[in-house]
């Protein structure tokens, strides 16, 4: 088995034009191992980038390698090792889930027996074990999303591309899908690229993010970098928040208020001061949290 390159997708100055429109304007990215989130506004170039990674379109400039291969020249080899779950929910109506997943696994060069077995396993894994013989036409959006995921992983690809995997799912289903994706990425050793509009969800499961704007990467970081350092302290009490705010302000802390919630500027001795002030006032302490930088802060900051 070949050594896995440390960077899964590597892009240098990638350019793509559609007539007069420049969709990608010299994009640089190193999408490394693990789960990476691909973010960006509509029309920023994410879909174009994915189509180039899959070798479905040719680029007009720059270099791109996917697991060491160039999708423009070695498209077939690149695609046989990738699992892809597109954004749309169109799937062949009559096929049963198991037939569809098996057929796609076979189309990804798994021998028949192995394809049958792994399609079965993949559908159980995503929670569709009992429904796997039902025609896809009878399935809800939530089930279709899971069928797409099963089809993407059944042939044990090295890289999985997921486009809006939680689209159309209700809150409980979203949590389950995210947990599933996290599991697939961390336990099963597949590299995953998730394209999504949901910052909170990307923050929950990704190891790193790449933010695309106007055809370029404007920010790329690991989640650890994003969440660097506390930038303040959030305090929520169940009453008398103004009094608490005054007490703390009097002690020299910078305090801002939003209803029952106070936000203090970062300071080492803030913790004890808050604890003591709350105890003195005899109010209930609902929440005490360091306020870190969030992905949203980073994202909105870059696309301002």
């Amino acid at each position: 088995m070949a050594e896995r390159a440390p960077t899964v997708i590597s892009a240098r100055g990638v350019v793509k034009r559609y007539g007069q429109t420049v969709a990608l304007a010299g994009l640089d990215a190193d999408i490394g191992p693990g789960i990476t989130g691909l973010l960006g506004s509509n029309g920023a170039g994410k879909t174009t980038f994915i189509s180039l990674v899959l070798g479905l379109r040719s680029r007009d400039g720059g270099e791109l390698t996917v697991q060491g291969r160039d999708p423009a020249t070695a498209g077939i080899e690149v695609r046989q090792r990738i699992g892809y779950a597109p954004e749309h929910h169109d799937l062949p109506a009559e096929l049963s889930a198991t037939d569809l997943v098996r057929h796609l696994a076979e189309m990804h060069l798994l021998p028949r027996r192995a394809a049958i077995q792994r399609a079965n396993d993949a559908l159980w894994l995503v929670g569709l074990g009992e429904e796997r013989f039902r025609p896809v036409a009878t399935m809800s959006t939530g089930q279709r999303q899971r069928v797409k995921l099963a089809a993407a992983i059944a042939h044990d690809p090295e890289l999985v591309l997921l486009d809006e995997p939680t689209d159309g799912l209700d809150p409980v289903q979203r949590t389950e899908m995210l947990a599933l994706i996290r599991r697939i990425g961390s336990e099963f050793g597949m590299h995953i690229l998730v394209s999504s509009h949901h910052l909170e969800e990307v923050e929950r499961i990704c190891d790193a993010v790449v933010i695309v704007e106007a055809g370029e990467v404007v920010h790329a970081a690991t989640l650890a970098d994003v969440r660097r350092g506390p930038e303040g302290l959030v305090v929520e009490v169940d009453e008398r928040a103004d009094e608490l705010a005054s007490v703390l302000a009097a002690r020299g802390f910078e305090v801002t208020r939003d209803g029952d919630v106070l936000v203090l500027g970062a300071a080492q001795d803030a913790y004890d001061a808050v604890r003591d002030a709350v105890a003195d006032l005899g109010v209930g302490l609902r929440r005490l949290e360091p306020r870190g930088r969030t992905l949203e802060d980073v994202y909105l900051g870059t696309s301002a």
Binding site: A44, L169, P171, V172, V278, R286, E296
Partner: protein
Amino acid sequence: MTREPRVIADGVSKWFGPLVAVADVSFDVGPGVTALLGPNGAGKSTMFRMLCGLARPSKGTVRVLGRDPRTDTDVARHIGLVPQQEGVFEPLTAREFVALSARLQGLADPVRAAAAALEQVDLDPSDSRRLPTYSKGMRQRVKVAQALVHDPGVLILDEPLTGLDPRQRVDMVLLLRRLGAEGRCVIVSSHVLGEVERLGSQVLVMSQGRLAAAGDFRELRALMDDRPLRIRVRTDRPRVLAGALLEAGAAVGVRLDGEDVLEVDTSDARALARTLAPVSRDRGARLFEVHPLDADLEGVFRYLVER
């Protein structure tokens, strides 16, 4: 608006043959933003259709601004609907499209109303580009402008954030909050609970065709008293604090997790909140983090729909 806009459902049920889509739902929603939540298949879309007068309840009544939206065509002038499906967009400019809606509503000066509505959603009324060239986020905002042009007291939006990128989502949430703060009755359905929390705290939760909960979701959590609340505490003296909380009767269970984390189960969240700071101070334990698990909207939601 002389009267406060309200949407009232009273014992509403809807069935399609043997399929019960909505079962005995009653609520009273006033000004501000109220989120309608529920798993897929819970009856939310059917409920929306009845609120707009597009479907007739099999039983019970729906009253918008005191009138039946299905039979009283006049009240339609006070309701703005933003449906989920992508509309078929004619090759008109945004202003022409919204003005068309204004004309259909019988407004006196449709073009000016259209311009005002477009400005409300932060679009340029003098933009001469045609709608099919607009991005999805802009089209979504045009749909909202169209629903706003006749200055309705009631706005009903079905998944208005679908397909929007993160910046567009933030902008739309702010817009909806503003509309609610203006005194309109805004009912929104959405699956993304993090955003719903930012819209406001009023929720209606449907599950299996029934109304599972209504009200401020934080208060709702407090009502779920058959489930103890779990709180995560980060402190430099977890064992000492654990013992002290148990002793004080503020906790029914404690779990140590790592060097500095304590998970405390309590059946009386208020008492625990009151006890935490004083007890920590007495025992010389520093508090770095106090975080209720499952008390956010997602926790409330999961509890409600899994009952």
